[in-house]
């Protein structure tokens, strides 16, 4: 049954909750975006229907770009933020579509909607939506947002930091996004309708490799190859380690180094086998990345949640290899690989 599968999708709870949640928001936003006011913004005009410009931030400084210093907790990247007066951190989690808010701090907020229901959301439990008046971080202010609410207490317990919510690409879709995991920086650039940075800010990102972004969701799917086979990965900054599906082609599986295994006992008799190891032969463009830590697991539930078949997640183990640039307007993903050991 669907519900069971989603709940099982244990691995990347952040992703799962977030994605499942966000899929429901797609449908909600779809209705909003057909309203004529989207026309007022030339950028919003070009955006896919489900993204209404709902999440466009104000730049307080009238600047064309901002550098957001991210904090790290384990392998998570955090952005210090104020959400309706509450101070804490948002997890930068691109496995989430838009905004997910931690019920611990906002359970008394006005509900703006309940679960819209179909299989996926229902299965995560009742996902409630709430209205958020204002979110501020760095020099950005977002007003009047709708957020999905989830229990994120387990991330706090693991990482010992106060988590107000998760923030995904949906919150910055109209901007060029440069992620520098090595220096813990998130850079956002305002862009025009063609995806170019405003006022020629900076020289622009010079990638070693770029890939066209496919699909119209706020989730970034990337093609990578292992042993010549093209695989579909979700780029997920909330995944503290990579993941690859145990259902992949046999040739692919034989390239993995398995360093750890455990069987988690549940109520069922079989228990759940968890494998952990290294991805050795991953290639993106012409660039091979070795030794990426990865979980090997069944990904059916995740695929179901994302609404598309995925073979794995590219998380922290992937990110730390370079600087990444994501531009949903001109639909380009680029990566500049780290050269040697950074200081």
């Amino acid at each position: 049954m669907k519900s069971g599968r989603i709940i099982y999708s244990l691995l990347f709870c952040i992703v799962v909750v977030a994605v499942a949640v966000s899929l429901s928001s797609f449908s909600l936003h779809k209705t909003v975006s057909t309203l004529p006011d989207a026309v007022n913004s030339p950028v919003a005009n070009l955006l896919p229907a489900f993204n209404s410009g709902f999440y466009d931030p104000d730049f307080n400084l009238n600047a064309d770009s901002v550098i957001i210093p991210m904090k790290t907790a384990g392998h998570l990247f955090l952005i210090e933020a104020k959400v309706d007066g509450e101070v804490g951190n948002l997890v930068f989690d691109t496995g989430a579509s838009g905004l997910v808010i931690n019920s611990s701090y906002f359970r008394n907020h006005v509900k703006s909607g309940g679960t819209t229901s179909t299989g996926i959301t229902g299965s995560v439990g009742n996902v409630e939506q709430i209205s958020i008046g204002q979110i501020e971080f760095a020099d950005l202010t977002y007003r009047n947002l709708r957020a999905d609410m989830a229990n994120l207490g387990h991330i706090e317990n693991r990482r010992g930091v106060k988590i107000l919510g998760l923030i995904g690409f949906g919150m910055m879709r109209n901007l060029e996004i440069v992620i520098d995991p090595i220096n813990s920086e998130l850079k956002l650039f305002r862009i025009d309708q063609t995806g170019k940075r405003l006022n020629g800010k900076g020289t622009g990102f010079k990638p070693d490799y770029s890939q066209k972004i496919e699909g119209n969701t706020n989730i970034l799917f990337l093609k990578g190859t292992i042993r010549g086979k093209v695989l579909n990965f979700c780029f997920d900054t909330g995944a503290e380690t990579n993941a690859i599906s145990s259902d992949c082609n046999k040739k692919i599986m034989s390239t993995l180094t398995i360093t750890r295994r455990t069987v988690l006992k549940g109520t069922g008799t079989a228990g759940s086998e968890v494998l952990f190891g290294k991805m050795n032969d991953f290639v993106i463009g012409n660039h091979q990345i070795r030794d990426m830590e990865t979980i090997i697991s069944n990904m059916d539930a995740l695929s179901e949640a994302f609404g598309t078949h995925i073979d794995g997640l590219l998380g922290f183990s992937f990110m730390k290899n370079g600087v990444l640039c994501i531009n949903f307007v001109n639909k380009q993903f680029g990566i500049r690989f780290k050269k040697g050991e950074e200081k």
Binding site: K71, R261, T267
Partner: protein, 484 residues
């Protein structure tokens, strides 16, 4: 022993070792997947230790492994069937099909916690376990510390618009602590207690290590942080101006004779440093000659009969036991000295016994040993455990008091939480002035807890913050902020 003999012995031992442990275990080469089979390559020559290691790394049942070594070819374990196949030499392959359908009842968080231990975290700037520290700044005025005031200075960056300092002292906040433009650089004064701190500057959004500070440590995600110590002690030795080299060493440095080099001053030698709160034994080495501190009257003999100087860093706590004036010997023992039964002999007073002892902020359990008989502190109402396993409890520099203002007629109220592994037998709250209390020392961070009132688990009615727990009920939440 002569160095040559030592070396030869070492060499022979190494050779011998390499002969017997030919079949060394490389965890990267044990397990792989081929054609849908999970295959473990085991070596029949492995020692028990290596078998145990493999069993641990890959969660293989020890009886399963034993059966492989006993020569079985098909092994049924639980509801899985394993096959064993000899390959070359002493190598065997143990295999089964990769599990394709997972158990759906597994809780997500359990799995994340498991994987957590396998992930490679680059470093860890835990400041609380560090016992000592000495700074290493290239520029003298880049950092100063006196009277609990720390002054950080970042030179240049004149064109920067905004500069912040972020570190363990402010929970790595990126927005709380701005620096001020002063002269040729940026400055900030912080009120800090003695201790170890990791920090960075944020210059217009960019994380920067302190360019003047050579002391750095890697954080979890791999990036370096600057590290600074706020000092709380100066070792001083007057005279000995003609000595070539003076160092100080002690139990805080494992009595390493290399020691910490002291700097010459106008009338002797000195070394400022950070020492974690506690009691330490130390000595000076003046041109390789050991000596106690002539300026310190506190000298005690160690187990081998050597004299050492002693210092207490931090506030001392006076343990007292009234009465028992006819006892011959009373010893204080507790979690602060690993329950040593001889070390801390209490001093006799007209009214009873006492012992001043310096220990770091924290939660401790202790007992007195009166002429060989163990007893809890009769004057301390705070007790942990039950039955014969009771200890007195003290929270030194307690920074939080759990309070329950209701249930005045309850027989027992227990405090259980993440800070004591949810021990249901641990912290028995004490009724004082109509409410139940339990003082405690907690490191900054998140804690979840509940009260157990006469056997019933309840949330803290005075705490509006709570989290869902795995039982579908909730836990109260307490955040402890860094206290500087």
């Amino acid at each position: 022993m002569k160095p040559f003999v030592c070396f030869s012995l070492l060499f022979m031992t190494l050779m011998f070792n390499s002969l017997v442990t030919q079949a060394q275990l490389d965890p990267d080469k044990v397990c792989h997947i081929e054609n849908g089979q999970l295959i473990f390559t085991l070596n029949l020559k492995w020692s028990e230790k290596e078998k145990k290691e493999v069993s641990k790394l890959f969660d293989l049942d020890s009886t399963l492994i034993a059966q492989v070594y006993s020569g079985k070819s098909v092994i049924v374990s639980g509801n899985e069937t394993w096959k064993v196949k000899k390959i070359q030499g002493t190598l065997v392959e143990l295999s089964k099909s990769v599990q394709s359908k997972a158990d759906k009842s597994i809780r997500m968080n359990d799995l994340l916690l498991v994987v957590e231990n396998w992930m490679n975290f680059a470093g860890n700037t835990a400041s609380t376990t560090t016992v000592y520290g000495i700074n290493n700044f290239e520029v003298a005025n880049a950092f100063t510390y006196s009277q609990n005031k720390a002054l950080f200075y970042l030179p240049a960056n004149k064109t920067a618009q905004r500069v912040y300092i972020s570190g363990t002292f402010n929970n790595w906040s990126t927005t709380q602590t701005p620096m001020k433009m002063m002269g040729n650089g940026w400055m900030v004064e912080l009120k800090l207690n003695p201790g170890k701190y990791a920090y960075k500057f944020i210059v217009d959004g960019r994380w920067t290590t302190d360019p003047s500070n050579k002391l750095r440590e890697r954080g979890d995600a791999g990036a370096y942080n600057s590290v600074v110590y706020c000092y709380n002690h100066v070792f001083e030795l007057k005279g000995h101006k003609d000595a070539r080299k003076v160092v100080v060493t002690g139990n805080f440095y494992g009595w390493n004779p290399r020691g910490f080099p002291m700097q010459p001053t106008a009338d002797g030698w000195s070394l400022p440093m950070y020492l974690r709160d506690g009691t330490y034994a130390y000595k000076f080495l003046v041109d390789n000659e050991w000596m106690t501190d002539p300026a310190n009257p506190a000298v005690r003999k160690d187990a081998d009969g050597n004299l050492n100087s002693f210092i207490g860093i931090g506030e001392s706590y006076l343990f007292k036991l009234d009465g028992y004036t006819t006892a011959k010997k009373v010893v204080l023992t507790g979690s602060f000295n690993a329950w040593d039964e001889v070390e801390l002999v209490m001093d006799k007073t007209p009214k009873g016994w006492q012992f001043p002892y310096v220990i770091a902020a924290g939660n401790y359990e202790y007992k007195f040993i009166v002429d060989g008989k163990w007893m809890i502190d009769p004057a301390n109402p705070f007790i942990t455990g039950s039955g014969n396993f009771q200890n007195s409890f003290i929270a030194l520099k307690a920074n939080h008091i759990f309070e329950l203002n209701k249930y005045p007629d309850a027989r027992t109220v227990i405090l259980a939480g993440s800070f004591n592994n949810w021990n249901e037998d641990g912290y028995k709250m004490v009724k004082e002035g109509g409410k139940w209390i339990w003082p405690i020392y907690l490191q900054p961070g998140k804690y979840t807890y509940k009260f157990i009132v006469d056997g019933t688990w309840i949330l803290d009615p005075a705490d509006k913050l709570y989290d869902q727990n795995e039982y579908g009920t909730n836990n109260s939440v307490l955040w402890v902020e860094p206290s500087n």
